[in-house]
């Protein structure tokens, strides 16, 4: 959960949701009742559902940001040279994404829309792999129905394979690897196996410090979580701006800590 501390005038701290946004509505509502006459109660929490003053585009923001960050890094000529990419374009580049929750799904969707080839999606019980590309929308639908990726056949594609969870996903050959689930999934035990050229940290802390050193020595470019997955948080900040743009609010510290 992150908090933004305002100056003395607005002495509340503002909470960011981790997962559930209806609780943000409860917080906002309670705050309004305890502070009758306060005009901008909507600004005391972010992550409110859309009907209750939340901002549209919130759910997909983090995934969208990851996709933008990858595109921005790819568009840099020095990086193209360093990694041996003939161009900075998304099309023709292969992606492996770990985690198909909110961030993983939206990242996959935007990457595919931008022309990227999502060849593998790794989940808790295993990985769906198809070098011709995975139908992200169909997989999401399948997961919603069955609660697992096991048994998904990618619309009957003959090149679709299921890789058991023991096989892992870190060693899959691809251009861009996107860990979008838990922390420490790339660590001292598997960092040497990474074959991707770029890792985009869609999750918080997916790479351990030891692994970071190994990856840097291998010349693999890591887009840090601080940058890659920050768009969700920036959006929360924008929600505040909408409500506070007529007040002078001095924001002295922006302090982000995770659960």
């Amino acid at each position: 959960m992150g908090t933004i501390e305002g100056s003395g005038r607005v002495s509340d701290s503002i909470t960011l949701p981790h997962i559930y946004n209806k609780q943000q509505s409860w917080i906002r509502d309670t705050y309004a009742q305890l502070n009758p006459g306060h005009m901008f109660t909507a600004g005391c929490v972010t992550g409110k559902p859309v009907g209750h003053g939340g901002i549209r585009g919130r759910e997909s923001a983090t995934g969208l940001g990851v996709s933008f960050a990858i595109q921005a890094v790819l568009s840099e000529p020095l990086i193209q040279q360093q990694l041996g990419f003939p161009s900075g374009s998304m099309s023709g580049k292969t992606f492996v994404i770990q985690g198909f929750g909110n961030v993983g799904y939206w990242t996959s969707k935007f990457v595919a829309e931008a022309g990227g080839n999502v060849i593998a999606i790794a989940e808790r019980d295993g990985t769906i792999y198809d070098e011709t590309g995975i139908d992200v929308h169909a997989l999401k639908h399948y997961m919603n129905q069955h609660g697992t990726v096991v048994g998904f056949d990618n619309n009957g594609s003959s090149s679709c394979q299921f890789l058991p969870k023991e096989a892992g996903f870190v060693n899959l050959d691809c251009d861009i690897l996107v860990p979008a689930a838990l922390e420490n999934v790339i660590n001292i035990h598997n960092a040497h196996d990474v074959r991707a050229k770029i890792i985009a940290e869609a999750a918080n802390g997916p790479i351990t410090a030891d692994a970071d050193e190994i990856l840097n020595a291998k010349g693999i470019i890591v887009i840090p979580d601080l940058l890659a997955n920050s768009m969700g948080v920036s959006l929360f900040f924008s929600t505040l701006i909408i409500y506070f743009n007529s007040l002078t609010l001095k924001i002295e510290t922006i302090e982000l800590t995770s659960f």
């Binding site: 549209r56 933008f68 970071d212 470019i221 601080l226 940058l227 768009m231 920036s234 909408i242």
Partner: protein, 99 residues
Amino acid sequence: MTGMRLGRLTRRFEESHGRHLVEVLESNGIAITEQQKRNVIAGADEETHVRSGLEDTMIAACAQVMAISREKNCTLRDAAYIKALEDVATSYRRGGTWP
């Protein structure tokens, strides 16, 4: 007005602007597909505004981090932390550290 959704004031205007443009093109004998028409006429609703602003922010942030990384010859992670710390330091320097 401050509580209004982004794009609320401008969307319909942008759409009518787009519609006029389509009329002008068609009346001059320029054929446009339905998809092209939709693209031109679409005004920016809140989600579009949000996306556009955030895309800008992310691209700018990435460019700055990559520039720092080149300049200091360090990883993107280190460069991102350098930028974040510099931004916070600047904000303190400007705004003061009261209380």
